[in-house]
């Protein structure tokens, strides 16, 4: 492309011109922080009647009854936190294993294919995970995981009462969904570990596993932790796939195999049918609680990932 300047131009003496381009682009970019602030403010304003009426008791209330206008968020909050942590426990070993495999040097071809496969897993829409979980994963998990476990350990309360739609099955589909986040970020963090560390360990006679377990993983620890929390944020906010398999039950589940509810699922199911003042306001307050939880989790994760990136580059 020709970017020639007219040769006849007289170059003016140097002087500091105000950078108008900077002002304009900065103003456009400011839309992003503005949107974040407006989301929180507008949701707070809409939730205000419920915030005012139920106060802090909203977070600890167990009852959810639109008829008597008695709303408590505890069962949904518990469901959100429980499904997310269970999903994390299921996905973490697999995600780190994928990251270790993908970060190994050599055999670029096969690693590229596996990496692409895992990243495509991240691209699949959550509603497709949902329909697959509803018709394939949940019935399979009921027959081959829940029933055998509860037959053997059913005397333990929280492993009894297997059901197709359950907190456990929601966690299972969530685990599959957060796997790409976990493994992609962990892979990048492990790759950022200076080559010298690996080579030193090998030169000292360490085996592949000793190098990985005692040298690489400790060096990448904080970054992997950050990836874990980022994945936790994904899991906390996921809506559709969870709504389709969790069983939609407004109660503290007696067992991980029993139906439960999550914050996002309650909103998805009830918001369009909510009438009056307090029911919609209570639902929006659930959304506000969800946003606050994910906001804190995400900011902590981002700070962790950034600080490790710095640590690792200093170590090099």
């Amino acid at each position: 492309m020709a970017t020639a300047v007219d040769t006849g131009v007289v170059i003016p003496p140097a002087r500091r011109v105000p950078d108008r381009f900077r002002t304009v682009t900065a103003a456009v970019a400011s839309i992003v922080p503005l949107v974040v602030v407006v989301i929180v403010v507008i949701l707070f304003l809409q939730a205000e009647p419920a915030v005012r009426r139920y106060g802090l008791g909203f977070l600890t209330g167990i009852d959810w009854n639109p008829v008597t206008e008695s709303f408590g968020a505890l069962p949904a909050l518990f469901g959100t936190v429980a499904t997310s942590f269970l999903a994390l426990a299921l996905a973490l070993p697999v995600g780190v294993a994928v990251a270790i495999t993908l970060a190994e040097p050599g055999q670029k071809g096969i690693r590229g294919v596996i990496g692409t496969g895992v990243e495509l897993l991240a691209a699949i829409p959550s509603v497709v995970y949902g329909i697959w979980a509803l018709y394939v994963l949940a019935p399979w998990s009921y027959a081959h995981i829940e029933v055998p476990i509860s037959e053997r350990f059913g005397s333990i309360g929280w492993l009894s009462q297997p059901g197709v739609r359950s907190l456990f099955n929601a966690s299972l589909v969530l685990a599959v969904m957060i796997l790409p986040t976990l493994s992609a970020i962990s892979r990048d963090v492990i790759r950022a570990v200076p080559r010298g560390l690996r080579e030193n360990a090998v030169a000292l006679g360490a085996t592949w596993w000793e190098t990985t377990w005692r040298v690489i993983l400790p060096a990448a620890r904080a970054g992997i932790f950050g990836a874990t929390i980022l994945a936790l944020g994904r899991a906390l906010g996921e809506t559709i796939a969870v709504t389709m398999v969790i069983g939609n039950n407004h109660a503290l589940p007696p067992s991980i195999f029993a139906p439960a509810y999550t914050l996002s699922a309650v909103i998805a199911n009830e918001f369009t049918e909510a009438t009056g003042v307090y029911h919609p306001a209570a639902l929006i307050e659930l959304g506000l609680v969800l946003i606050m939880v994910t906001l804190i989790v995400n900011v902590v994760a981002l700070l962790l990932v950034r600080s490790t990136a710095k640590d690792v580059s200093h170590a090099a």
Binding site: A29, I39, I124
Partner: protein, 284 residues
């Protein structure tokens, strides 16, 4: 068995475990693709599936053209809102990356990426649906635009940052004003990367259900007016999959197949474009 041999075996054992877990991670991808194709292909093989809209259960010839058109309108409108803003914002982040405000914008877009999509739906409801008193395609497009914005910004920033600073310095040395350097020199060189970001954002927006539940809401008829309720492919999958009728469930699988083909197709295309960007930046 001596100690070193044991260490060697342990290492090999763990290596096998790691590769085994990696294979395990790929199984869900295979299963999802297999079931979507095997259950979605039979309903999607009929021409009516792409020419007709909703028919009551029992009436043959039902299709999802209303959902395909709706998704097109929603994502198109959202792109018009999000992509120009995202590109300019991304140029700002890359060109003035040490500015203090830039780090706030960066933090805000990372936060926005992590914001639950259902909450963005609530936001669009409060911003557009509540004041206008009706569900509309416009409100759905606003929600999708908020989802797309941070993706476009961060990928544009990445693409512009890839361009060697020599190009920028040559432009400035020739006396070009800053805006011409950024928009006519740097940005054209970064176009493939910017397209990648836009494509990824479009793919993400096409697959989102939660923000549309109480904004676009869904519609059984084929409509082209964004001021009315609009159907979308992910909404179709969600609504039909939960129905007790086999014919609707089959249509849900068919719509899921169409959705997966669109989303994965866009993703693979964006990878190809990105590879060209990296090759191009290497030449500069």
């Amino acid at each position: 068995m001596n100690r070193n041999a044991r260490r060697g075996y342990a290492s090999t054992g763990w290596l096998v475990v790691m590769y085994g877990l990696t294979v395990l991670a790929l199984i869900p991808l295979g299963l999802i693709l297999w079931f979507t194709v095997s259950r979605g292909l039979p309903p999607a093989l009929h021409v009516e599936f792409f020419t007709n809209s909703f028919r009551p259960v029992g009436v043959p010839g039902a299709g999802v053209v209303h959902a395909i058109v709706g998704t097109g309108i929603l994502v198109g409108l959202a792109s018009v809102m999000a992509i120009p803003v995202g590109i300019l914002g991304g140029v700002y982040l890359a060109e003035y990356n040490v500015a203090r405000w830039a780090s706030w914008v960066r933090l805000a877009s990372d936060v926005l990426v992590g914001t639950p999509s259902i909450a963005i739906g609530l936001f669009a409801y409060a911003l557009v649906v509540a004041p206008t008193h009706h569900f509309s395609g416009y409100s759905g497009a606003v929600a999708l635009a908020v989802l797309m914005l941070p993706i476009v910004i961060r990928t544009t920033e990445g693409a512009v940052a890839l361009i060697p600073s020599g190009l920028r310095e040559s432009g400035l040395a020739l006396g070009l004003p800053r805006w011409r350097v950024s928009l006519q020199l740097i940005l054209p060189a970064a176009v493939p990367g910017v397209i990648t970001g836009a494509l990824l954002a479009v793919a993400r927006a096409s697959g989102e259900t939660a923000p549309l539940l109480f904004t676009a809401f869904g519609n059984q008829h084929l409509v082209f007016d964004p001021n009315s309720q609009l159907q979308a492919l992910p909404l179709t999958v969600y609504q039909y999959a939960l129905q007790p009728y086999r014919s609707l469930q089959d249509q849900a699988w068919g719509a899921a197949l169409v959705l997966v083909v669109i989303v994965l197709g866009i993703n693979l295309a964006s990878r190809w474009v990105l590879r060209r960007q990296i090759a191009l930046a290497g030449q500069l």
